[in-house]
Amino acid sequence: MAKPRIAVHKFSSCDGCQLAFLNLGEALLQLNEQVEILHFLEAGMSDVSADVDIAFVEGSLSTPDELERIRQVRANSQYLITIGACATSGGLQALRNLDGHHDEWRDAIYAQPEFIHTLKNVVPIASEVKVDLELWGCPVNSVQILAAVRALLFGVAPVDDRDRVCLECKRQQTVCVMVTQGTPCMGPVTRTGCGALCPRFGRDCYGCYGPSETAQSETLARRFAGLSLVPDAIARRFLLINSQAPAFLQAGGVFYRSGAEDPRAGDQDD
């Protein structure tokens, strides 16, 4: 029986999610025995228009040519899996959707803005083509990738674990940073998959795995206010890596106040 063929495509992204493959170590060799990798630029394979059984897609749609390319990828693939926050919810770069000053930012940042062809709004892959499975995370990890591949090799639907970080925190017997320190943790509304990585190191979850099932974002936002967070700080909790995920966009939007009348006014770092 022929081995299933896979491709790993990159769109607007930092390449970090592709490392979930490259960091596999020995398992990457085992994976290579199970599947045939036809296209994966970061690993050296190039066949961008190959017909494949599974296409992994990293990155958001941020330019007009990416809209064209994702349609081609979809047409060439049986099963399409988005990997990571950018592909699944727009990622960090989708922050530009929030203030509506796309052109001003572009002109302020680039020396020759006439060469920049970008979309005014960054969108996730699923807004343009049908996505069969979304793997969340910034970045995704190898466990998620392998579990999805293994399930598909068995011919069953991959498990979509939408549990919240809190459940994993408690399984790991990590002490709650919100209850013991009053730290505004996104764990109660964020899906697990990371193994509660940040709380295990004593810091608050910042929501990089996106919304969990029944994410009670507005309830948590109210709690953040009770922990003395000012509206802008609450908005930043929700509108960071997964700002376009509806459950985060809605809660963050309540507290978001566009301060970028003139994006050139100054450095917004805090």
Partner: protein, 362 residues
């Protein structure tokens, strides 16, 4: 003349030494990451000396004092539950054979004899509930059988505690091998099992002075005066109060995060899943803590019976305080107050029960 039952604090290490000599791994309370956690203990100076605590709805803080006591706090996020009901474990493995059949391999890891120091009455009561629920579960049972339980009567209940009203504390009532009362200068000890008695026989004990006896009684009386109480309600009616408006306000306040059930010492729900190796020839069958606040908990073949927070909260409360009585002969709540302290938004289920109980009276 009372029997010798007093162990000076300076001799507490003789108890730990004795346990270690008898081959026990000792687990005891320690300050880790701002909370009291039960972790392997080598010596007495790892115990939380002078530590007291403030617990409020949604808040848990430790306070360092100069006091000599080692157990002047109520509890931490967990105590016995993770030691008997593992947060995550592999139950069995299956191996694909050359002829296409599967070979199943049972995986039970043996646990070394473990002595737990500093167990509270509320946790012993919850352990007894878990014993009922996991009766016949070999994974639970072998860990349970490995335990030697050394209780310390609670002298400093938190504001979130209400064990006096559930009848499970503040003193250890049953299920311990040894129980200690911590006084300013040492411990009064009583045995609850032959194993405990034989340990006691090997400790350098003195007779307690009248002052120590008096302090024991006064301390107990004081610990019984808790701010919170289980309100009056009719357990069998809870499940019929599904239309009560309280569920809507709870759903508004609740994150559905499952922290209450995870820290509850009697909650026992778990999920099971397959974790196959990449080559597809071997798979581990795993179980892990789940919660009635997760969508997976009520998922049955294509349908989620409890899709929203309202139905999940109602399920938890009516089971814990209502149908649990029918199932296990008593309420699932032992008054430890963890669900109140460790709720990130500070929901107090006793307030909901008070509301629901009002309907009984009307």
């Amino acid at each position: 003349m009372s029997a010798a039952d007093f162990l000076p604090r300076s001799s507490l290490s003789s108890l730990i030494d004795l346990l270690q000599q008898q081959g026990y791994r000792v687990v005891g309370p320690q300050v880790i990451d701002g909370a009291i956690l039960y972790r392997p203990l080598q010596q007495a100076d790892q115990l939380p000396a002078g530590i007291e605590q403030i617990q409020q709805p949604g808040q848990y803080r430790l306070i360092r004092t100069q006091g000599p006591r080692l157990f002047s706090w109520a509890n931490g996020p967990q105590a016995l539950k993770p030691l008997t009901f593992a947060p995550r474990e592999t139950l069995w493995r299956s191996h694909l054979q050359a002829d296409g059949s599967l070979r199943f391999e049972e995986v039970i890891e043996t646990t070394e004899p473990t002595a737990v120091l500093g167990v509270r009455g509320c946790d012993l009561a919850a352990l007894s509930l878990q014993d009922q629920h996991f009766s016949g579960d070999p994974y639970y049972q072998q860990r349970r059988d490995s335990l030697l339980l050394i209780a310390v009567d609670c002298s400093h209940p938190a504001d979130t505690c209400f064990c006096a009203s559930t009848g499970d504390g503040p003193d250890a009532r049953a299920g311990y091998d040894l129980a200690l009362v911590e006084l300013d200068d040492g411990y009064r000890i009583r045995a609850g099992s032959p194993k405990g008695q034989s340990l006691m026989d090997n400790l350098p004990l003195d007779a307690a002075t009248p002052e120590q006896q008096q302090q024991t009684d006064e301390q107990h009386q004081k610990a019984c005066q808790q701010q919170r109480h289980l309100p009056a309600f009719e357990p069998s009616r809870l499940i019929h109060q599904g239309q009560h408006p309280i569920w809507d306000s709870l759903a508004e306040a609740c994150l559905s995060c499952g922290n209450c059930t995870s820290v509850c010492p009697s909650c026992f729900c778990f999920s099971e899943s397959e974790v196959p190796e990449l080559d597809g020839t071997t798979s581990g069958h795993q179980r892990q803590w789940d919660s009635c606040f997760s969508e997976g908990h009520s998922y049955i073949h294509g349908h989620r019976f409890r899709p929203d927070t309202k139905s999940r909260y109602r399920q938890w409360l009516t089971h814990k305080f209502g149908s649990w009585v029918e199932q296990y002969g008593r309420s699932g709540c032992t008054g430890c107050g963890r669900c109140i302290s460790w709720c990130p938004v500070g929901i107090d289920p006793l307030e909901a029960l008070t509301e629901l109980g009002r309907e009984d009276v009307e």
